[in-house]
């Protein structure tokens, strides 16, 4: 194994972090691009809302099926609702958000910036004295963060509704027991950590997608590669970060009743 195969990924990682820092500093530079932010938020929301809702329903359903079956074997049917809520809010919400914000939102950002890169639009912008990071990337990162938080809420609501439907209608659970046990295990900090995760996921997805898009090269194929790489890298990062944040959360907030 040559030195290059070790240093190259490290160098890329370093550049990605440097890019993230550039974005962070550009965040405080005025004027803030309100218009671009609103347009991007609207755009990202429009490409993610419907797929997110459609993903959330089977997500809630599969949790209801699995957990419902398991809990019935323990003879604790009255806690099916609480288990489903816990699973959806703590894990399913952020995970589904991560999938969609990276797969739909991130790929769209990478494709857009990649196309601008190879058409020399980004060069032209720099030459006109405008920093593309401040003008294009910062609004996209903020938009992805905001939309991710809302998507997380959407997944939670739709997922719980999906779980309710499957438990009550298909597994002959009782609506009363399902609803009554809602808050037996779940607590308010679960909701906060879900939102915090979504916020971080949105940021990571948008930064990786912007970085890959702005560094696309080699014509149309380069843009395709950039989109592909950005989605793969984002998935990897988001699942790792999700694990780390969950582990930290369990240290900070003790489970209810413990």
């Amino acid at each position: 194994m040559s030195v290059n195969t070790v240093t190259k990924p490290l160098a890329t990682t370093g550049r990605l972090f440097a890019f993230g820092l550039d974005v962070f500093f550009a965040l405080f530079r005025r004027p803030f691009q309100v218009r671009e932010f609103v347009q991007q938020a609207w755009f990202i929301a429009s490409v993610t809302i419907v797929p997110t809702a459609l993903v959330a329903i089977p997500f809630g359903a599969v949790i209801a099926l699995q957990v419902g079956g398991l809990i019935s074997q323990f003879g604790a049917q009255s806690f099916v609702g609480s288990a489903a809520v816990l699973a959806v809010i703590r894990e399913a919400g952020p995970i589904a958000t991560a999938l969609l914000i990276a797969g739909a939102g991130g790929s769209a950002i990478a494709a857009d910036l990649g196309a601008r890169k190879i058409r020399e639009e980004l060069d032209a912008m720099q030459v006109l004295g405008i920093d593309p990071i401040q003008r294009l990337v910062v609004p996209r990162v903020l938009a992805a963060m905001v939309v991710a938080v809302f998507l997380n809420g959407l997944v939670s609501v739709v997922g719980v509704m999906g779980g309710y439907f499957f438990n009550v209608v298909l597994q002959d659970g009782t609506p009363g027991a399902y609803l009554a046990s809602f808050t037996a295990l779940a607590q308010l900090p679960d909701l906060w950590q879900g939102m915090a995760k979504a916020l971080v996921f949105g940021m990571i997805a948008a930064i990786v997608a912007s970085y890959k898009g702005m560094n696309a090269g080699g014509g149309p194929k380069g843009v395709g590669d950039a989109v592909n790489e950005s989605v793969v890298i984002t998935f990897l990062l988001l699942f790792v970060v999700n694990f780390v944040m969950s582990a930290i959360y369990f240290q900070l907030v003790p489970p209810k009743g413990a």
């Binding site: 601008r116 058409r119 639009e121 032209a124 720099q126 006109l128 004295g129 405008i130």
Partner: protein, 319 residues
């Protein structure tokens, strides 16, 4: 009044591949210079280095007391306001129509009112002959129109230096002639320093005050137009007359055998030097020298028939 650009010992490589080394030249203030070179010799890279989009490995680029090659990002954004750049395909922002594209630098950098912006934008659009196409998107127009729109956008902040990347690629000869005339007229009007990167021999022979030739990873020659057009230097003579005989081969350079075989062959005689392109309103160019002046002062006899009016412009044809 344009600004002088002084390049000293500029060297750029990508990885281990040297693009060009030790390029030293001065673009005189307010004059039109053309940079020539076979495909793949890094002409566009040179242009991008001049505006600081690429960092050179070594060397300096002095513009009004700033050194583009070493200055900080913040300073770079300041100096760039002196520049107008026309990219190969115009580099228009695809999401905006032509009017908004041209107005973009004004809206970002100045606090002018919309009516004032409108006046300036329409003035530049008229200069490049795009009145009536303001509401079109860049995707809906031809390559030539995109180029002219890019030129209008490059002009909108009244640049002191205009860098133009292959204005004639993908343009028909008539449009090329028009756009060359436009450059000469613009130069007379706004007095900016022009650097044009091109492949087109007609453009190179008639348009500029100075010509540079990048070849084989170095600057082969840079100087007044008449100096290069009367040069017997094989590379320069070959390229400026579009001939096969000479050191430039189909691949980047000819191999030793081919060169040895050709060394006995004499270079064909130089064709006559055409007169310089003049502004369309009959005014002289700002830094115009009498035709043949350089040749006289340096004791060079121009090829016979040079500087005649109505010269037939057929590059490569025997004189």
């Amino acid at each position: 009044m344009g600004v002088e650009v002084r390049v000293e010992g500029l060297t750029k490589s990508f990885g281990r591949q040297l693009i060009w080394g030790d390029v030293t030249l001065t673009l005189p203030a307010g004059e039109i210079s053309v940079m020539l070179g076979p495909s793949g010799t890094g002409k566009s890279v040179f242009l991008k280095t001049l505006i600081g989009l690429l960092k050179p490995d070594r060397g300096h680029i002095h513009i009004e007391g700033h050194d583009i090659a070493t200055c900080r990002e913040h300073e770079l954004y300041q100096v760039r306001r002196l520049f107008g750049v026309l990219f190969q395909d115009g580099a228009m922002f695809g999401s905006m129509n032509l009017y908004d594209n041209v107005a973009f630098p004004l809206r970002e950098h100045t606090k002018r009112s919309e009516s004032e912006i409108r006046r300036i934008v329409m003035e530049k659009m008229e200069m490049v002959g795009l009145i009536g196409a303001e509401r079109k998107l860049p995707g809906e127009i031809s390559g030539g129109m995109r180029k002219r729109a890019g030129l209008a956008r490059a002009l909108v902040l009244d640049p002191e230096i205009l860098l133009i990347d292959e204005p004639d690629s993908g343009l028909d000869p008539v449009r090329t002639a028009y756009i060359n005339q436009l450059f000469v007229d613009l130069n007379a009007q706004i007095e900016a320093t022009f650097l044009i990167v091109t492949h087109d021999i007609n453009t190179a022979r008639t348009l500029p005050d100075n010509i540079g030739l990048l070849y084989h990873r170095h600057l082969a020659m840079f100087g007044p137009r008449e100096m290069l057009l009367s040069s017997q230097e094989p590379v320069v003579a070959q390229f400026l007359n579009a001939q096969r005989v000479g050191p430039i081969g189909m691949s980047e350079e000819k191999d030793a055998d081919e060169l040895a075989a050709e060394s006995s062959v004499n270079m064909p005689p130089l064709p006559p030097i055409p007169p310089q392109l003049l502004p369309s309103d009959g005014r002289p160019r700002r830094t115009q020298q009498p035709a043949g002046d350089w040749c006289r002062r340096n004791g060079v006899t121009p090829p016979s028939g040079s500087f005649a009016d109505n010269m037939v412009m057929t590059p490569g044809a025997p004189a």
